[in-house]
Symmetry: C2
Subunit: 357 residues, 2 copies
């Protein structure tokens, strides 16, 4: 940890004093940046971009060059895992991700591969190694995966979904099969995240984008239980690498998420951070939670909303400023810069270790 120059993110995640609130942005390497669009256009398509280490490294570094952010996050996709398990990921124009071979029957689940991350997912590991080298220890590099539940919904539906018909069919008509699928995805995800740490990731994040479509009981049974397995396993093998869990629309389940032993919890904008802090009993760092839509506003409005987020967390060193979900593609990069500057300017007042304290 001491080799990294900017330790704010890692300090927040390990409950150490900070001079100001660290900030990074979900999907910070993305289409709102003209330099990203240029590399993406040259690559031709998203998958080529994500699977070519030099290009993935380049777009990972772009927001770090442009803005004074406190962390980089490797450019990749949560669906690389099921792709490596044999489903055949592709992107249909204007339709988002799709799988050639969805996983719906017990036989489909039996047939799933258990990919070796350094072979089938080597492009991610190479991108991590290259990016670590190019970052020159300026800021920590975050690795990530989808939650087994979220990844499984895509595997079962064959892509994005509105009502999750096939997933819910499996859940309510053959839950043993669903558990078998989730166990396999969990095992692969643990190997994948472990390999990411060994390739240079200095913090991990698990994105549970669709945990919020579950009931309280099925969330515990089908989503949190498997994220718990990931946290327990990684904490055993790599106790010094902090892990953040993020369930979108999971505000009501924050107490349980915080009890997994994770270091940080991502919070979307549907809950005040003061409530999230109370619900998690100060056990974890909280990451979030500006509504990405705020960045469409005027600078005065952005400042007002940044202050609202900082004040809602209040005084303390365990807040990581971020959006409540990924940045939208039509945001003006200048507004992003203004948001970051505002956090730099106003957050020291919330920290006892600030130069002005």
């Amino acid at each position: 940890m001491h080799s990294i120059k900017n330790t704010r993110l890692l300090r927040a995640l390990s409950n150490q004093p900070n001079d100001r609130t660290p900030i990074w942005i979900m999907r910070q390497a993305g289409r709102y940046l003209p330099e990203y669009r240029e590399v993406r256009a040259k690559a031709g398509d998203f998958l080529t971009l994500a699977s070519t280490p030099e290009l993935a490294c380049e777009v990972t570094l772009q927001p770090i060059r442009r803005y004074p952010l406190d962390a980089a996050i490797i450019f990749s996709d949560i669906l690389t895992v099921p792709d490596a398990m044999g489903l055949g990921l592709y992107f249909a124009e204007g339709e988002g991700p799709k799988f050639k071979r969805p996983t719906r029957t017990p036989a489909d689940i039996q047939a799933l591969g258990n990919p070796d991350p350094e072979t089938e997912l080597r492009y991610v590991m190479d991108a991590l190694r290259l990016t670590r080298s190019e970052l020159h220890d300026s800021v920590p590099l975050i690795g990530f995966a989808g939650s087994p539940w979220t990844v499984a919904t895509y595997m079962i539906e064959g892509g994005g979904s509105k009502e999750y018909v096939n997933t819910k069919k499996l859940m309510y008509a053959d839950h043993d099969a669903l558990h078998m699928l989730l166990s396999k995805v969990t095992a692969t995800t643990i190997q994948y995240l472990t390999a990411q740490v060994e390739a240079g990731a200095q913090a991990l994040m698990v994105f549970d984008t669709w945990g919020g479509i579950l009931t309280p009981k099925t969330y515990m049974d089908y989503s949190l239980r498997y994220m718990q397995e990931i946290v327990s396993s990684l904490k055993q093998s790599h106790p010094d690498t902090p892990i953040t869990l993020f369930t979108k629309n999971g505000g009501m389940w924050l107490p349980q998420i915080a009890r997994t032993g994770c270091d940080g919890v991502g919070v979307d904008w549907t809950i005040d951070l003061r409530d999230a802090r109370a619900l998690t009993s100060e056990k974890v760092a909280l990451q979030g939670n500006l509504d990405p839509g705020v960045l469409y506003g005027s600078k005065a409005r952005i400042k007002e909303e940044v202050i609202r987020v900082l004040e809602s967390y209040g005084e303390g060193d365990r807040h990581i400023f971020n959006l409540g979900h990924g940045i939208h593609q039509h945001i003006d990069p200048e507004n992003v810069e203004f948001m970051i500057e505002t956090v730099h300017e106003l957050s020291p007042a919330f920290h006892s270790n600030s130069p002005t304290a």
Copy 2:
């Protein structure tokens, strides 16, 4: 009220003893029923079906004929209001509802009509009158509208949306314009719901499908505030007509929803009814909240989950059994029958006024 033979729904909404838990199903007149698909095929398209009083009445009655349900809900759509305000509703094949003329600028908002329900929305009123007559006071007839916020998102986006880019732009860059739009939709919705009561609706429901994409503060400012206006106005003019508010993904805001003076609150499946009951302090009836996906399960599984819902509410007369959202189109009608029978069979134990108590 006494003219209606089956008063269970109205009794639950007015906190009077019941012999068992009333049940109806969101989207009970819908594509999962073969007799619905037949009428829909004859009508040619959804809009013809919804705007022809005889056909709307027919499909409203279909589930009542097939199942021993405790309420009918008029077959209509939350987008009839903006259609009547001049936006030009149409359904693009496989793409859901769209508007020819979305509402994005202050000039668009200024130009909106204030339709007279008995003229521009007469087909809904005629359908209500006809259905009331055909029901012969067997069960109460529910009228409904979308919440101003939810309707406004469709008006601004021109259809369904994923990130609500234009809505959030308006919210954060020109909130006066958004408030003007919401005020206009609210005024029209109040007239529309008032006319529905006068045409025969015996209970009202307001669907806030997209309130859950807001922050706590913007939910209060842009969604709940306008639903509050609707409740206050209807309670003034028609104090005996119960109103139920339903914000999908609004579990965390149940205390505030219950304080509007509404009679019932719809609850999706992401929260336990025991928690919902505690959060609403027994001020209101609670409607819900079986995960619609449960109906893909075996009868044993359906029974188990129905029991879970009944037990999570516990003893008391203010529970209205329902799904947590609309029924899916590929559900087997036999499973729906089994769910209803199970509620009939097992819910008396939760009521002090049951024959067996």
